[in-house]
């Protein structure tokens, strides 16, 4: 296995959050990261998965020196994020804020030149690098227009080009394909793979499981400020493979989930709300063939209307459900406190 290029050691971050209740301002500590430790190998594509508020962005902000951790440490490309901030920044190309972070009154080319200078890329090298990026990312049609005239997708591509301007050994990409159309997102993933093939280490956060499965050598699932699972996508999926996943679609009255959970050999249930009162249940169970009839009985007895039942391939999403009892989808409903953290990996 290659040597680590990113090392995180017991990193914790506590914010002071201000809450306003009945006109009174209260300060409350919020622990966004709880002793996170991990290593990312040189040349790896490492996925960081988790729902909103899980701590992904806080971890990335600590790694990129935007935030000071409360305790613990991290080292990137041989440099300490606390003591050698500028060397750490010079080691990374970042795309953290989607299409924000660009100057709208400058053209795409002027933006790239500006950020190239901030990354200490010499002027003559910068010129060639910009031309290379224009070709690689097909920016030619719009790079000499001011950014204010760009579509959201064009701004995202320019933000990606900005992350590549210094040709750093490490790339940190936070949801880079959000707002991109399908072909552009596919093209970007292709470029990410190519950059990785050239030797770059890539840290990639996404909500899109197919992206993580397509790109990442290893992933870490982060929830409530802790890493709850880490490994290759195959290993993580294998860790729950002894369980079947069945998807049920229909109208499920209140109490259906609880009844389903009470069925022997049902391990976890996650609900995703659809439209018109319809929902999707992802049910994780042992031996679905044997238990399916009991699940149907439990739901029918509660007045549920089941419109479809499908067996499902185990995905990273199912790994997340198995670990947390929730789905990663934006419209996820939290299913009480029956988290199964620490199970299976």
């Amino acid at each position: 296995m290659a040597e680590a290029i990113i090392r995180v050691d017991a990193l914790s971050k506590t914010y002071v959050s201000k809450e306003r209740k009945k006109g009174r301002k209260e300060k409350k500590p919020v622990q966004a990261l709880k002793g996170v430790s991990l290593e990312i190998s040189d040349g790896e594509v490492f996925g960081l998965l988790g729902p909103n508020g899980a701590g992904k962005t806080t971890l990335i902000k600590c790694l990129t020196t935007l935030l000071l951790p409360t305790s613990g440490g991290a080292w990137i490309n041989g440099y300490d994020v606390l003591r050698e901030e500028n060397a750490v920044r010079a080691s990374i190309g970042c795309m953290l804020m989607g299409d924000r972070g660009l100057y709208w009154k400058l053209t795409g080319r002027e933006n790239l030149d500006y950020f190239g200078a901030l990354y200490h890329v010499p002027r003559d090298v910068r010129k060639d690098r910009i031309e290379d990026l224009i070709t690689l990312l097909k920016l030619g049609d719009f790079v000499d227009r001011t950014v204010e005239t760009y579509s959201a997708g064009q701004r995202m591509i320019l933000a990606f080009a900005k992350a590549l301007i210094n040709d750093a050994p490490i790339l940190i990409l936070d949801e880079p394909t959000v707002t991109m159309d399908v072909p552009t997102a596919r093209e970007l993933r292709h470029i990410v793979k190519e950059l990785n093939r050239q030797g770059k280490t890539i840290v990639y956060t996404t909500h899109l499981m197919h992206e993580a499965e397509e790109l990442c050598n290893r992933v870490a699932i982060i929830d409530h400020g802790e890493i709850i699972a880490i490994g290759t996508t195959q290993d993580l999926k294998a860790s729950i493979r002894h369980e079947d996943v069945v998807t049920m679609e229909g109208i499920f009255p209140n109490g259906s989930v609880e009844r389903l959970r009470a069925v022997p050999r049902v391990r976890e249930v996650a609900v995703t709300e659809a439209e018109s009162g319809r929902s999707r249940l992802d049910v994780m169970c042992d031996d679905s063939r044997a238990v399916l009839a009991k699940m149907i009985d439990a739901l029918s007895g509660n007045g549920a209307t089941i419109e479809a039942i499908k067996p499902k391939e185990v995905t990273l999403e199912d790994v997340f459900i198995a670990k947390t009892g929730r789905t990663l989808a934006v419209d996820t409903r939290v299913l009480g406190e029956r988290a199964v953290r620490g199970r299976g990996g």
Binding site: A2, E3, A4, I5, I6, R7, D9, Y15, V16, S37, D42, K61, T65, L66, L67, L68, G73, W75, I76, N77, G78, Y79, D80, N86, A87, R89, A90, S91, I92, G93, L96, M97, R100, G101, L102, Y103, W104, K105, L106, E110, D113, Y114, F115, A117, L118, Y119, H120, V121, P122, R123, V125, R126, R129, T146, K162, I165, N166, D167, A168, P169
Partner: protein, 298 residues
Amino acid sequence: MAAETVAKGFGLGRPGLRASLDVAWTVFVARLRIITRYKGAILLESFLPIFFAAMPILLGIAVAGSEENAANNFFQNTQAAGQGTSEYRLYMLLGSSTFMVVSLMLWLIGYWIRREQETGTLESLYLAPAKRLHVLVGVTSYSLVRSLAAFVVAMFVGSLLFGVNPLSGNLLAAIGYLMLGVPALWGLSFFFGALILRVKEANSVIQLIQWVVPFFMGVYFPVTMFPPLVRITAMAFPPTLMNDAMRSALLNITSLYGPGYIVLGLMFMAAWITPLLGYEFFGMMERRIKRNEGVGQY
């Protein structure tokens, strides 16, 4: 767990003096490019000092009854401060034009930080290895060029409108005092920028300085007219020193601070101390923000 990780260099980045100069220059050029894409912005602000000066000049004439009476009244009042000049129009025009330089230097930095916070480019700046000082040199140099352009246009057009000759005194000394006052203005702009970074709101702070700064600078009157405590505070304010030094050179009058060598000594001191304190304050505020919510939150 061992701390070290493998090191693979900085890609295309080549830090060093040349790269640092390139940062300051690129930031400076980018700011100029952006402002020139807002049509007429620089030209319009150049006329502001003329209006600032016209109001007290016309008020003085209205109260005194004639231009001659206004000049006599002004002479008597400035005589009491040990200066004695009847050239109230140039006094006001120079005061308001210098105020414009101070004001622009401060609020261009304030608005720059606020705008960068809102658009997300501040976080991009903090992700880059360029030192904050080099970026600030680029931005403050741009602010300086823009404010000096406003100063020159205002002095030229204002002199024509008010019928005064700004070249009658020691112009070179006045320019020297102006340039010597600039580092202190940089220092003040660092303080001001840090404040905006912290409070995340520019308008109210800028509104406040629009009134407090000219008041303490003595834009329309000698600060010796203040009660002792306010006078000492006003005279300790570097822009007041710069304004008074420029007036003493252009109007051939005595400075409120004393002989020329004292004025020069004080200006050198302000040119060193204010930027150092300002930059330290900026760094302190920056660390405080990074310990909690981070620069990205606005």
